[in-house]
């Protein structure tokens, strides 16, 4: 009889203990989950309140930040985009003709990019333009870039594992078509225009052109315009580890671009972008090194010397504001934040889930710290 009790005790007691342990763990987990849910609810429910100091400077809350641009859009471009959406191609054509006549490649790139995005949704107006002026270089450029934009819309902006094979298949099919459109844009290009070449970098990125092909393309671009901003921006993306290059290739490319460029060309932003694209640390230590402070100083001098009407100067200021804030140079950060407030479609905010919220959070931090420094 006693042997049965011994057996029962040997088997039963450890089982009982294990059961109790699991029960405790389950209850603990449930309680924590419940509390956690409670906390996050609190956070989400708390509406953003514009701090008085920021309001005093005339800064805007997140909901008033425009999420489709890094800075104000020129009135002529806005008018051309609206006309295109309404089916009228003439203002768009006039805009493209002006940049060609003035040989303003930075604005030609900006304008063609905006127009291409509109055409990727609906190209009726572009078809009308192409019919009315069959060999128009501007229309050919917008066509090529709209095919690229269309491919990107098909793929969607999600990571590869959240992208379906149907999306990839469509992306590759349309991207492949863009090669033909690029070739036509190049054939019809205005003499000296680098934009039909720099537009091809997006296709090089999407279809994974070999490095040798990218270098050949790069030669075509720099022969025409050595310090073309958007070409450098896209090329740096190509050389990044996440696309077709590596951290080393990207950093070398950016450093070389910055070293060769004259003051005011804004090329000094690319070492900062290369750092940003490959920085995976959780702390701000890597952003406050003497080297990084020197890079920020160089970019500050560059924007100060740049033509205020340069279409990309605001993008540089966004990134400067971010790094000045991380480097605890809050007064200088506030100055840059004030100059770009109202628009958030730029690095680094563009990569975040809530660009406007992130922008305002860091801006308010710098504003508060700067005020403290003054009063202290």
């Amino acid at each position: 009889m006693i042997i049965l009790w011994v057996v029962l005790a040997l088997i039963g007691l450890p089982l009982l203990a294990l059961g109790l342990y699991f029960l405790k763990a389950i209850v603990q987990g449930a309680v924590e989950g419940w509390r956690g849910a409670d906390d996050s609810d609190d956070d989400a429910d708390k509406p953003y309140e514009l701090p008085a100091a920021a309001a005093a400077l005339g800064l805007l809350p997140p909901e008033q930040q425009k999420k489709d641009s890094a800075g104000p859009i020129p009135a002529a471009l806005t008018a051309a985009l609206d006309a295109a959406r309404a089916g009228d191609w003439q203002p768009a054509a006039a805009l493209m003709d002006t940049t060609a006549a003035e040989r303003d490649w930075n604005y030609r790139s900006v304008h063609s990019s905006w127009l291409a995005n509109v055409a990727a949704e609906d190209d009726t107006w572009l078809l009308a333009w192409e019919t009315a002026r069959p060999d128009d270089p501007g229309a050919a450029l917008v066509r090529a870039r709209s095919t690229v934009a269309l491919a990107s819309s098909i793929r969607g902006a999600k990571r590869a594992k959240h992208t379906t094979s149907e999306q990839f298949e469509g992306f590759h099919r349309v991207m492949a078509q863009s090669r033909e459109d690029h070739a036509r844009a190049v054939a019809l290009a205005v003499e000296g225009d680098p934009v039909p070449y720099s537009a091809q970098i997006a296709t090089a990125l999407g279809l994974g052109y070999p490095h040798a092909e990218m270098d050949r393309l790069w030669q075509e671009i720099t022969d025409r315009a050595p310090h073309h901003f958007s070409a450098h921006y896209m090329a740096l993306q190509y050389w990044c580890a996440k696309w077709r290059g590596s951290e080393k290739l990207a950093r070398d490319f950016a450093a070389e671009a910055a070293a060769k460029a004259p003051l005011g060309s804004l090329m000094t932003v690319f070492p900062l972008i290369a750092h940003f694209e490959h920085d995976e640390s959780d702390s701000a230590d890597a952003d406050g090194t003497p080297e990084m402070r020197a890079l920020v100083d160089a970019a500050l001098a560059d924007v100060a010397a740049a033509d205020p009407s340069h279409p990309h100067v605001v993008e540089v200021r966004h990134l400067l504001a971010y790094y000045l804030c991380l480097q605890d140079r809050d007064e200088a950060a506030v100055e840059q934040f004030r100059l770009v407030d109202g628009y958030v479609d730029a690095l680094p905010w563009r990569y975040r889930g809530d660009p406007a919220g992130e922008f305002c959070r860091m801006r308010d931090l710098s504003v508060a710290n700067a005020a403290e420094a003054v009063s202290g």
Partner: protein, 541 residues
């Protein structure tokens, strides 16, 4: 541990497999005895009852161990009088290997060669042997390669290693057969239960009651539980004997290389996976092409076409031979990875026999075409044999293609019916395209979430591949119905559709005709011209 010792362990484990049930029963009985001795009567009574319930599947398991004698696989038995050359080869090889020749040769219709033995006394004693020889192997191998394959199979039964190692091979085969039999019995019980429940459901439905889900999870559970115990033990046995049987495989390979030549053996090993893949493809895409419509190729061609496909696709096969399967093998498989086996053979010194017996293995048969015909009768079921035979392969293809378009409905057909409530015809669809309503119609296609959420150009790009494929299918169907389409039968490629030639006499590319019709700015002119072809053609006559 030496080979003999390892084989001895295998022998003990083999005995354990058959004694497992008895052992478990003895354990239960012992526990009951202790209970009755020590526990109060009320409790012990209940526990003894439980143990009796546990004993039932054990007893059933013991009965299941009596596997029925191995049934001969479906095939064509050939006597020495039928195939003297084949028999002579097999006997000669058995002699060289140093084992007794099989007493029967059965030709089968798969890419396989095997020597089976009705071993007696749980695999302890040898019994009569049968050689199964797949005719597709004869079609794909040279005589030297076939000699290598046969020498390998016979080599398993030679006692060149140790007497006990041969015993291990026999034991493995027997255990594997037993657990397969177990699983079949369990499946049969589940199938019976399913039939019973379905019958019940049919009755319930007849009375207007809602049918229950058919659930066979519980059925055959005692069989399955027992099978699990034995399978678990069998795995142990297989693992314990793996090294012995792998050695056996290498030894059999070495014997094959010695008897049939190094190069023939290595190339045969490379060839078998290739033939296996090719034969699967052949059966799928050629031999059974018309079985859906109860059509068969001409007599003798069902398997006879295989060697024609092989010779037509030599180039493809050369590519396939380059790679060897390297994936993990099944734990039951005694064969080491193929790549490793080939490597070991190719490392042997050159024996200068590369050019021996290069003739086709099929030539060993007295009358290959007659054998292929008889094989059909031997392996096809009576039902399949009653299917209609076509005059040739081309007729088979024509009949199958005609039917496939008659029955064929593409997603576009269904979308059209939903949109217009009318049956689709190609001219009506072209009218609709010219009206610019294709994209409205496209919204009725089965769409992914991403495609359904898309607008404008993005939406059109999402649906374009489906539209293109469906429209091309409809166009082929229409041309086929008007007898404008000719399908070319080919051993080299899949069937090639030939469209009526373009106006300038060049070959028409269907994709180029269909693409403009589903473009953003649709142009159906080319497609209409293609369909109008016959009226023009007849007008010209």
């Amino acid at each position: 541990m030496g080979t003999t010792l390892r084989a001895l362990r295998a022998l003990l484990l083999l005995a354990g497999f058959y004694l497992l049930g008895v052992l478990l029963l003895a354990l239960l009985a012992g526990a009951d005895y202790l209970l009755i001795l020590h526990a109060p009567a009320s409790l012990s009574g209940k526990l003894v009852l439980v143990s009796v319930l546990l004993a039932i599947p054990l007893v059933r398991g013991l009965f299941m161990l009596r596997t029925p004698p191995d049934e001969e696989d479906a095939g064509l038995p050939v006597t020495e009088a039928d195939e003297p050359e084949l028999w002579r080869t097999v006997k000669e090889l058995a002699d060289e290997v140093g084992t007794t020749a099989p007493s029967r040769i059965v030709l089968t219709a798969d890419v396989n060669a095997a020597v089976a033995e009705d071993a007696r006394l749980l695999g302890l004693l040898p019994g009569p042997r049968r050689l199964y020889l797949g005719v597709p192997l004869l079609q794909g191998l040279s005589q030297a390669q076939l000699r290598a394959v046969l020498a390998h199979e016979l080599g398993h039964y030679s006692n060149s290693d140790t007497r006990l190692a041969a015993l291990t091979v026999r034991g493995r085969a027997q255990v594997l057969r037993t657990i397969t039999h177990f699983e079949q019995r369990a499946d049969n019980t589940a199938a019976r239960e399913q039939a019973k429940q379905e019958k019940k459901n049919a009755k319930a439905e007849a009375k207007g009651k809602r049918a229950k889900e058919v659930d066979t999870a519980g059925a055959g559970i005692t069989y399955r539980a027992m099978a699990q115990i034995y399978i678990g033990y069998a795995k142990l046995y297989f693992r314990a004997t793996l090294s012995v049987s792998r050695r056996q495989e290498y030894a059999a390979d070495a014997a094959a290389a010695r008897i049939a030549g190094r190069d023939a053996t290595a190339s045969a090993l490379r060839e078998i996976p290739v033939l296996d893949g090719a034969f699967g493809y052949y059966m799928n895409c050629y031999a059974t092409l018309g079985t859906g419509q109860e059509l068969l190729p001409p007599r003798g061609e069902m398997f006879g076409g295989f060697d024609r496909m092989l010779s037509a696709r030599q180039l493809e096969l050369v590519e396939m031979r380059g790679g060897l399967p390297t994936g993990p093998t099944s734990p039951y498989d005694s064969h080491p990875p193929m790549a490793e086996r080939v490597r070991r053979i190719e490392e042997l010194p050159d024996d200068g026999r590369a050019d021996e017996a290069r003739g086709a293995a099929l030539d060993l048969l007295t009358d290959a075409r007659r054998t292929l015909t008889e094989l059909e009768d031997a392996v096809l079921s009576e039902e399949v044999r009653a299917f209609r035979r076509t005059a040739d392969w081309q007729e088979l293809l024509d009949l199958v293609m005609a039917e496939s378009f008659r029955a064929g409905t593409t997603p576009l057909h269904r979308a059209y019916v939903e949109y217009t409530k009318e049956q689709p015809t190609l001219p009506a669809l072209l009218d609709l395209i010219e009206d610019g309503r294709l994209w409205q119609l496209a919204k009725r296609l089965p769409l992914s979430d991403e495609a359904a959420a898309a607008q404008g150009r993005v939406f059109r790009e999402f649906v374009r591949p489906t539209l293109h494929k469906s429209l091309a299918g409809m166009a082929l169907g229409e041309l086929n119905a008007r007898s404008l389409l000719r399908w070319e039968f080919s051993w080299e490629r899949s069937a090639i559709p030939h469209l009526p030639p373009a106006a300038d006499g060049t070959e028409t590319d269907l994709d180029e005709v269909v693409a403009p019709a589903v473009a953003d700015v649709p142009d159906t002119a080319l497609l209409r011209a293609l369909l109008a072809h016959d009226s023009q053609h007849r007008g010209a006559l």
